[in-house]
């Protein structure tokens, strides 16, 4: 069921900002409040906005069910793979081996209150992104499943 043009235009305007804000919350999970679960939920809200404002048939070509299922699976597999990668360095499962090896995400952080660096905290940003992808896919798939059962009727 399609909503009025006002609602559709508002949803079209706000959905990209929802996605961008969710991405910001996910990526800055180790510096500011938030993280994978919260940011993923914000991104899924952007998808929900589009789904509610437009009809299911119009939006199914933009937000595909298979893509979202793939997102969910890839997120969980990425989490487990990141955990297993610690075993190759001789640590325990999910040990934060990237934080101190001088590589990509290993900028040292000063003690106390400071704004922080984006490329720090080792494995934590990767796990955050994995969980964000998974929550985005999972919540959107639930919405798509539920809306696919609604009978279409024109007002």
């Amino acid at each position: 069921m399609k909503m009025t043009k006002i609602v559709r235009s508002t949803a079209n305007t706000f959905a990209p900002f929802c996605l961008i804000f969710g991405l910001y919350v996910v990526v800055h999970g180790h510096l500011s409040p938030g993280g994978g679960f919260q940011g993923g939920a914000v991104m899924a809200t952007g998808a929900a906005l589009l789904l509610v404002a437009h009809s299911y048939q119009d939006i199914i070509s933009l937000i595909r069910q298979n893509t979202m299922k793939l997102c969910e699976t890839i997120g969980l597999l990425m989490f487990i793979t990141a955990g297993l990668s610690a075993l190759t360095t001789g640590g325990a499962f999910l040990r934060n081996w990237m934080a101190h090896n001088g590589g990509a995400f290993a900028t040292p952080v000063a003690f106390g209150a400071n704004p922080g660096v984006l490329a720090s905290a080792g494995l934590i940003p990767i796990l955050n992104i994995a969980v964000g992808i998974e929550v985005l896919g999972g919540l959107t798939v639930i919405l798509l499943y539920m809306l696919s059962g609604v009978k279409e009727q024109e007002l």
């Binding site: 969980l76 989490f79 905290a121 934590i124």
Partner: protein
């Protein structure tokens, strides 16, 4: 009459609950060594400025893996409930 009685009953219940809640001690959590350890060593050991994230995704990351699995299983359950019927299959009403 019934509405007034119900409202009065609810108000009395609310007052009683608030009276009990007002008497509870609040705001003095016991200090543990664990909090001090996370606050003093968290930034140095994990490199994350957000202590909550460093606990959730580093010190207790295995718990977070379980949380992600719970979400995955929940979506699986919803998918099984909303699945398409096979041709010739009927709804079970029992």
């Amino acid at each position: 009459m019934r509405f007034a009685l119900l409202t009065a009953l609810l108000l009395i219940l609310l007052g009683g609950l608030l009276h009990i809640a007002a008497g509870l001690p609040f705001g003095n959590p016991p200090v543990t060594d664990m909090d001090d350890y996370f606050i003093r060593h968290g930034q140095e050991q994990t490199g994350a400025n957000n202590i909550v994230t460093s606990v959730v995704f580093d010190y207790r990351a295995f718990d977070t893996l379980g949380e992600a699995t719970v979400l995955f299983t929940a979506v699986l359950g919803v998918g099984m409930m909303f699945r398409k019927l096979k041709p010739g299959e009927e709804y079970e009403n029992d």
